[in-house]
């Protein structure tokens, strides 16, 4: 048994340039997202969280794709499913639950937006709305500004398969192709736009083939294989940073829960289908890999799980007891309250 492990498993992450510490950290983020998800659904059923957006099933593609980005330099433009993207980028479980409970100190919006509408300027995470694909042209514009300013940064933009039907998606990718912008497009293809299956969204099998229409490279990866997602993302991010232009990466995956806590997926998906995908749970697969690589054993996984669970439970308590926003604060930040943070133009004679 031990000899087999050494023979085949260990080299894969190392050959991708990831250390043992890296893959253990990636696994921990995936596990943190999963346990946050379980906790927020529990809180929803208890009536403590009115609305939650699940991530379960997407942890592998999210962590793998965000991992090559550089914190403090690169810009991340996620969508509402991307809890694990944001956890990897520096969100803490406490931040997540401050959002779930709509507390004053929720870093995304101070309790103004629904949960899972991530934002943190400090972490380079751009605020997003609920209408689908509206962030895609923003990502193109940010990438244009990066190139214009001669910066060495790359933009990552995430969306689901549903987003690829929107005009904004087409317009944003088209713009990125024309100007060969430093942006990587990540489609978390979980096969459904709420209830509408892929076959009713598009007449092609792979979203990635659309890349050709914009002059981009399109790539398909197994979204439940975190290392495969990492490998594709790493290559695309490096290419973008080197001036090679955008890439569209389609990560085929599945969401284990309904679209949100207000959805009932039994109306459109069979339980057999869901169970089949759960056998390919990215956390199970990555756990098996780490065991095979000799980095974790069953006991180690259990220890890690209870450690993360304690962290999540503490975060829930802390966030629950955190202050609510002041009612009158609803009137603030319609426009800039000061010029702080805005560098004004100094007019001079033309």
């Amino acid at each position: 048994m031990a000899t087999r492990v050494e023979a085949r498993a260990a080299p894969r992450h190392r050959s991708l340039g990831l250390t043992d510490q890296d893959v253990l950290a990636m696994y921990r983020v995936m596990l943190t997202a999963r346990l946050c998800d379980e906790a927020q659904f529990r809180l929803n059923r208890q009536g403590k969280a009115p609305f939650v957006v699940p991530v379960s099933g997407h942890e592998g593609c999210q962590v793998g794709s965000v991992w090559p980005f550089q914190r403090g330099k690169d810009v991340l433009v996620p969508y509402y499913r991307d809890m694990a993207v944001c956890l990897a980028a520096g969100f803490t479980p406490r931040d997540v639950f401050l959002g779930v409970f709509a507390k004053r100190d929720d870093p995304s919006s101070g309790g103004r937006q629904m949960p899972a509408h991530w934002s943190s300027r400090r972490l380079g995470i751009v605020t997003q709305s609920s209408p689908i694909a509206t962030q895609v042209p923003h990502a193109a514009g940010i990438a244009y500004a990066i190139k214009y300013l001669g910066e060495d940064a790359v933009v990552g933009c995430w969306f689901g398969d549903g987003a690829t039907s929107e005009g904004d998606w087409h317009e944003g990718l088209n713009f990125s192709g024309i100007h060969k912008l430093p942006v990587v497009w990540f489609c978390e293809n979980n096969q459904y736009a709420i209830s509408v299956p892929l076959s009713k969204q598009m007449a092609v099998k792979d979203v990635a083939v659309r890349a050709e229409g914009y002059g981009l490279e399109g790539v398909v990866v197994d979204g439940n294989d975190v290392l495969a997602c990492y490998e594709a993302a790493r290559r695309a991010v490096d290419k973008a940073r080197a001036g090679g232009g955008p890439t569209l990466i389609e990560m085929k995956t599945y969401r284990f829960h309904p679209h949100t806590s207000d959805d009932d997926d039994r109306t459109y998906r069979s339980r057999e289908e869901v169970e089949a995908w759960k056998r390919r749970d990215p956390i199970l697969l990555f756990g098996a890999y780490l065991k095979e690589a000799g980095l974790l054993d069953e006991e180690g996984i259990e220890r890690l799980r209870s450690e993360v669970k304690a962290e999540v439970d503490a975060a829930v308590d802390e966030a629950w007891n955190a202050p609510d926003p002041e009612p009158e604060s609803a009137l603030r930040h319609v426009f800039a309250e000061s010029r702080e943070g805005f560098r004004p133009v100094r007019w001079s004679r033309a």
Binding site: D168, F175, F335, V345, R346
Partner: protein, 328 residues
């Protein structure tokens, strides 16, 4: 000081902004090689290069959406929507994105964006080159909507819009482009967004207007003074949102009579807001009901000359209503 028309002022002011700050870029359909269909950016491509003068694909939502991204990352984009009539595909980007980004991020992110759009009729523009869109966007908190009527105001407000940390929709009445001339200082200056301007002082009635109609109101007011001896005060809103309540109310309290003139459809327009403001705050100063003069509630301004004239209020029609109100 130089005498210029409105479009020349837009062109020269944008040029000044491009020279003053490298963060300023212009983008839109035909803004590059063509220099804009109204020539607002004529010569820009040659002077500033294609990195700063961006001919975009024909996709209005992306023009605004990409400009939002640029603004989020340190640029000061000035996007052009070729005709205000074509802004509707970008409605979501303006209303749900640009206007809400500061609010929804609790003040963390801001969008210093200017969207310029030629609007209004009287140029045989028919249904899709004549629209007034100010009421749609004036309804949206988080968005500033500016509609200057003179070259002097165009320069001061355009520089203020570019130098504003929040999104500004800058509406230019296309019939004023070559019709209206005025003295414009050569040095840069900003005028405050959100401040109306009394373009003619008077004591007998207040006429609130903006854009092309403002000029017709001034014409009618001069004739009213000459023919009938009534003195009309003409207030140019200049900014549709946020509305300068103080200037409007101060004028109405002085004259006791109020009229709002705009070429947009009558119902749910700027006139409704101004009339409601006056009813709420200055009811007991009024000597007559508030009058609205506006376009009829039909879907659009038609093409044929008699139909277009039927739609658009002119100085004659405004004069008649002013005289009635003055004599009330």
């Amino acid at each position: 000081m130089t005498e210029k028309n409105v479009i020349q002022t837009v062109h020269d002011t944008l040029w000044e902004a491009m020279v003053a700050d490298e963060r300023v870029v212009v983008l839109g359909e035909d803004v590059g090689a063509r220099g804009g269909v109204f020539r607002a950016t004529a010569g820009f491509l040659e002077a500033f290069g294609e990195r700063r003068v961006i001919d975009t694909p024909l996709a209005e939502s992306a023009i605004v959406g990409v400009a939002i991204g640029m603004a989020l990352h340190g640029l000061l984009p000035v996007a052009e929507i070729q005709f205000a009539d074509f802004i509707h595909p970008a409605f979501d980007q303006l209303v749900s994105e640009a206007a809400r980004i500061r609010y929804r991020s609790n003040g963390d992110w801001g969008v210093p964006l200017v969207v310029r759009a030629p609007y209004g009729g009287g140029v045989h523009g028919a249904l899709y080159h004549s629209q007034s869109v100010e009421a749609f966007f004036g309804h949206v908190p988080g968005l500033k909507v500016v509609a200057p009527s003179t070259p002097y105001d165009v320069k001061g407000l355009l520089l203020a819009a570019i130098n504003d940390p929040d999104p500004v929709l800058f509406l230019e009445h296309k019939k004023t482009y070559r019709l209206v001339k005025g003295e414009v200082p050569d040095e840069p200056y900003e005028l405050p967004i959100g401040r109306a301007d009394v373009k003619r002082e008077g004591t007998d009635l207040t006429v609130v207007s903006y854009g092309l109609m403002l000029h017709y109101c001034l014409e009618a007011a001069a004739r009213l003074q000459e023919d009938e001896g009534f003195s009309a005060e003409v207030v140019d809103l200049r900014t549709i949102a946020p509305l300068d309540r103080e200037t409007v109310l101060a004028s109405v309290r002085k004259t006791g009579k109020a009229m709002v003139v705009y070429e947009d459809n009558l119902t749910y327009g700027v006139g409704a807001e101004v009339a409601a403001l006056i009813a709420e705050e200055a009811m007991f100063d009024l000597d007559a009901p508030v009058v609205r003069v506006a376009g009829p509630d039909i879907p659009a301004m038609p093409f044929a000359t008699p139909l277009e004239h039927f739609y658009l209020p002119d100085a004659e029609r405004i004069y008649e209503r002013m005289r009635e109100l003055a004599k009330f």
